[in-house]
């Protein structure tokens, strides 16, 4: 009988080996695949098992964490949710993350390998790192001024520091409170449904992710192209432009809102915003020259990250002369984000250099150690230094003598450009009011701020909508805050 007992025990050994091999298969060889399965909630559980790092404005956190006691334990809180929603985005157990919460998620949730003090050892021990902090470039006063200025209107503001590319304000209205989306519960799904219902789109980041026809504000780009390509050499010389101007190859006649545009000088055409002069200048520069200049300002760039990706601003590269003429005054299919138009103003103020706009100043680990700091970087040279100087002169003229008078600030040099963009079928939509500007404190070496404001207020009387009337006061408030 012993032989058979021994054989039976060998059978037991076979079972043991089978179990051990299978355990190694599941726990070692196929573990990564199981870990990565989207239905495996462990990643989420680990992520929410500790407080999330904070997003800071002017060194003060605008976010926090609340211990919900639930399985997805720590929930996000926002101190001034609607004010900073366009900067922070939301962090939700149910709907994931957006904007800065999304772009810097690795740091905030503690999974970024750079947070580990001893990287390789931490890999082995699988020690979880506490979340790091993200320091933004936002200037609280400028942000407040932008948000308050927009008030009940639909619109957006982007403000950058021309010299560095630091984004000082990024605001959009209507806004929402990301507090409502943090956590799990039924209230979160209800809030999500409510925010996504209807046409208000409060979760749309209008300053970064929405493009608008820039209208006359685009004339800054056209003027830069004309000056750089030497189609205009003397700001005060008469341009031989008829008013109205017949678009090349068509019988369509383009008119002006302002007077005195026939054969107007570039200076006058800029200050009162003559369509005819700029449409003809665009045709004079030609498609290649115009697209080159537009690209150097940042148009047609699909990869602009601040670190969230900005929507692509478009200047068409395949047009006939009539379309080019309309595009040169910011119509036809030219569109731009408020951030892009702020970059246009900043390029002028910064003597022609476009700095990469960025929202994150630095990232620190929980112990205060700096993990990374964003260095300023030049994206392109938009125009020659000389052209930039002359454009500065033109833009200051708009504020001192032209359509942008309501942006003037005592003790500072302010340059601006208004825009009123028609859109919709037969231009029946409510026009968008634009104002782009920059400001330099008197006696200062560098410009302090460049701003772009767009107001798309459907409630306003159509006649009242103009860059100078609606958007310039907001820009002025933001510039004042940034100058302080």
């Amino acid at each position: 009988m012993n032989r058979y007992i021994r054989r039976a025990s060998v059978f037991g050994l076979v079972l043991l080996v089978a179990l051990l091999l299978n355990a190694a298969r599941v726990q070692v060889f196929e573990a990564d695949a199981y870990d990565a399965n989207p239905a495996n909630r462990r990643t989420a559980l680990t992520r929410y098992s500790q407080p999330r790092g904070n997003i800071l404005v002017d060194g003060w956190p605008v976010t926090g964490s609340r211990d919900s006691g639930g399985r997805l334990r720590y929930e996000r809180t926002y101190t001034e949710g609607p004010l900073y929603a366009a900067v922070t985005g939301y962090a939700s157990q149910v709907y994931g993350t957006s904007l800065l919460e999304h772009a810097e998620d690795g740091v905030l949730s503690g999974t970024d390998p750079r947070l580990a003090p001893v990287p390789l050892w931490t890999d082995i021990t699988r020690e979880q790192q506490p979340g790091g902090d993200v320091h933004t470039t936002i200037d609280a006063a400028a942000q407040r001024a932008a948000f308050a200025g927009l008030g009940g209107k639909k619109g957006a503001v982007a403000a950058v520091e021309p010299r560095t590319g630091k984004i000082l304000a990024l605001a959009g209205t209507p806004s929402y409170d990301p507090n409502e989306l943090a956590g799990t519960g039924r209230a979160v799904t209800a809030a999500w449904d409510r925010l996504n219902r209807g046409g208000e789109q409060p979760m749309l980041n209008r300053a970064l992710k929405q493009t608008y026809p820039p209208g006359s504000a685009f004339k800054v780009v056209t003027a830069a192209a004309a000056l750089d390509h030497r189609k205009v050499t003397d700001l005060d010389a008469a341009t031989r432009t008829p008013s109205p101007y017949t678009l090349p190859g068509t019988s369509t006649r383009l008119g002006n809102e302002a007077g005195g545009c026939a054969n107007a000088s570039l200076r006058h055409a800029f200050e009162v915003s003559c369509n005819t002069v700029f449409a003809r200048l665009g045709v004079d520069v030609g498609l290649d020259g115009m697209t080159e200049t537009a690209r150097n300002f940042g148009f047609n760039d699909a990869d602009l990250k601040i670190p969230s990706t900005a929507a692509r601003s478009i200047f068409d590269t395949d047009m006939n002369d009539a379309q080019l003429a309309l595009s040169a005054i910011g119509q036809y299919d030219t569109t731009a984000t408020p951030l892009q138009m702020a970059m246009v103003a900043a390029a002028v103020a910064n003597d022609g250099e476009v700095k990469a706009p960025h929202l994150v100043d630095k990232v620190t680990a929980a112990d205060g150690r700096t993990v990374s700091a964003t260095r300023q970087r030049t994206l392109h040279r938009a125009m020659s230094r000389d052209t930039a100087r002359r454009l500065q002169e033109l833009m200051t003229g708009v504020v001192t003598r032209g359509t942008g008078g309501s942006a003037a600030i005592d003790g500072a040099t302010v340059g601006g450009k208004t825009g009123t963009a028609q859109h919709g079928v037969h231009n029946e939509g409510t026009p968008y009011a634009w104002f782009i500007s920059w400001a330099k404190r008197d006696g200062a070496r560098d410009p302090a701020v460049a701003v772009a404001v767009v107001v798309e207020d459907a409630a306003a009387d159509r006649a009242d909508i103009s860059g100078g009337g609606n958007a310039a006061p907001i820009a002025r408030a933001v510039m004042q805050a940034a100058l302080r």
């Binding site: 058979y4 007992i5 089978a18 355990a23 239905a39 495996n40």
Partner: protein
């Protein structure tokens, strides 16, 4: 080589008792368990659990009780059996306590502790009261009757989670099939010990194969069919599989006929095919095994088996550490059938290997006792009980790790479940008793067993002890007891 020289220990060699070894190992087992308990507390509440001392004292008292029973009544018993059982039971309590933290309104550890205490008490009772395992041989038919009755009773109670294996009286649930395992194993061992010659040598010969007579085969097949039938009705396929496995192993060991195994596998395949296609419960288990992520692909989230695999994978090589895994995602049955997933997640492949080796050691010591013993019943009983543990561990561990289709069963000692813990303690008590006999120095009468090979009937070692086979006449009335002819061991 004659059978007897292989079966009997060399005469005159005095085996050490090793009770001191057992005591040291027991202390180690209790300390490891208490360490685990403290570790869970530190991981989850950053504090040593308040009742760590009482937990340690309780487990220590149970271990001491078992040790004293063994020391007084089974002094030659294998010193590894009791410490392994205590360690497994202690770790089980730690895991259940740890999982209780996930379900604050459903505390299972206190109940499990009570059942463990009852199990150790029964262990002590068996060791103290059962002086010789051969007594059980007399009660073979009583055992089988009681076993079948225990299995049939739950049919009259409502099903719990699809299986009719529970008796619920006054909020007290109980799984009688667990005890039936021991009773049926005792029966199989006794019957096969008595009839192995008839099974091997008597009957018609067809071509190259010897078929036993219906008289020999009849009772055993009938009882086996009834037990399997009842279990299919109750949808407890794990236990059914277990019986089948133990039955085939014992049949093989008793007769040495590989043909039995082939036939057993054939029967098993046929049964599995029939049940798998006809029974929706089993059918879904098989398809879950083949496609553990089907419910994820269908957008219904991870099923229980997928969650279990995720847990094991999360453990990786070294585990997350006690208390720091997320096996609670498994939800229902995480403390019972799926408790191994928590073990795998929090202690990793290393911990799981140690656990499997502990079980393997327990099983190996059972086989070892069987090898050293001289009476066929004792040998078969030892092999049967050891196989019971081995197959049970394989079936449930293989099930929750996706090696074989999942059948609901308890990980011995580890899983939540009163009847299971108590049953396993009784199994260990019987193994202790058997190993005591196996290692006990042979009395002079037993040394005469050396000549047993020449004795007609070949009842090797039967003359040892007060309950020789002559004293167990239950088969004599059937007329197919060990027939004449020379005993052949191989």
């Amino acid at each position: 080589m004659t059978a007897t020289t292989a079966d009997a220990p060399p005469p005159g060699l005095r085996l050490p008792r090793r009770r001191g070894t057992e005591l040291v190992l027991l202390v180690g087992a209790v300390l490891i368990s208490v360490y685990g308990y403290i570790d869970v507390g530190l991981a989850r509440q950053s504090a040593v659990p308040g009742d760590a001392v009482s937990y340690g004292a309780g487990l220590g008292a149970l271990a001491l009780l078992g040790h004293l029973a063994v020391r007084f009544r089974a002094p030659y018993a294998d010193p590894l059996l009791l410490p392994i059982a205590v360690l497994l039971n202690g770790l089980g309590l730690v895991l259940i306590f740890r999982l209780d933290l996930e379900t604050p309104r459903n505390q299972a550890a206190p109940t499990q502790l009570v059942w463990s205490a009852l199990g150790v008490a029964l262990f002590a009772a068996v060791v103290l009261l059962l002086r010789d395992h051969r007594v059980l041989q007399r009660y073979a038919y009583v055992s089988v009757a009681a076993g079948l009755a225990l299995m049939i009773v739950p049919i009259f109670f409502p099903a719990v989670n699809g299986a009719k294996i529970w008796i619920r009286v006054a909020g007290f649930s109980f799984q009688p099939g667990e005890f039936a395992k021991i009773l049926l194993t005792v029966f199989f061992a006794a019957y096969l010990a008595a009839n192995r010659n008839a099974l091997t040598h008597v009957g018609r010969r067809m071509w190259r194969y010897q078929f036993p007579t219906g008289r020999v085969l009849g009772p055993i097949l009938t009882i086996w069919l009834i037990s399997v039938g009842v279990l299919v009705l109750e949808r407890d396929l794990g236990t059914s599989l277990l019986f089948f496995g133990v039955f085939v192993v014992l049949l093989y060991v008793a007769t040495g006929r590989t043909g039995w195994i082939a036939m057993g596998l054939l029967l098993a395949a046929a049964g599995a095919a029939a049940v798998g296609s006809l029974e929706p419960h089993v059918h879904s288990r098989v398809s879950d095994w083949l496609h553990p992520f089907a419910s994820i692909d269908a957008g219904r989230g991870a099923g229980q088996l997928a969650q279990s695999l995720f847990a094991f994978a999360a453990g990786g090589m070294l585990g997350t550490g006690l208390g720091e895994g997320h096996s609670a995602l498994i939800g229902f049955a995480m403390k019972s059938d799926f408790i191994l997933a928590t073990f795998g997640e929090e202690l990793g492949l290393v911990g799981l290997t140690v656990l499997f080796l502990l079980y393997a050691l327990l099983v190996a010591r059972g086989y070892r006792a069987g090898l050293a013993l001289r009476d066929p019943f004792g040998r078969l009983l030892a092999v049967g009980l050891a196989s019971l543990l081995a197959i049970q561990v394989f079936v449930i561990a293989g099930g929750v790790m996706g090696l074989i289709p999942l059948t609901g069963m308890a990980m011995p000692f580890l899983a939540q479940g009163g009847s299971s813990v108590v049953t396993n303690w009784i199994i260990v008590a019987l193994l202790i008793r058997i190993s005591d006999s196996a290692r006990r120095p042979a009395p002079p009468a037993a040394e005469a067993g050396v000549i047993a090979a020449a004795h007609p009937g070949g009842r090797s070692g039967a003359s040892a002890g007060p309950y020789g086979e002559e004293d167990t006449p239950y088969w004599s009335g059937y007329g197919f007891g060990p027939g004449g002819g020379k005993e052949r061991e191989r």
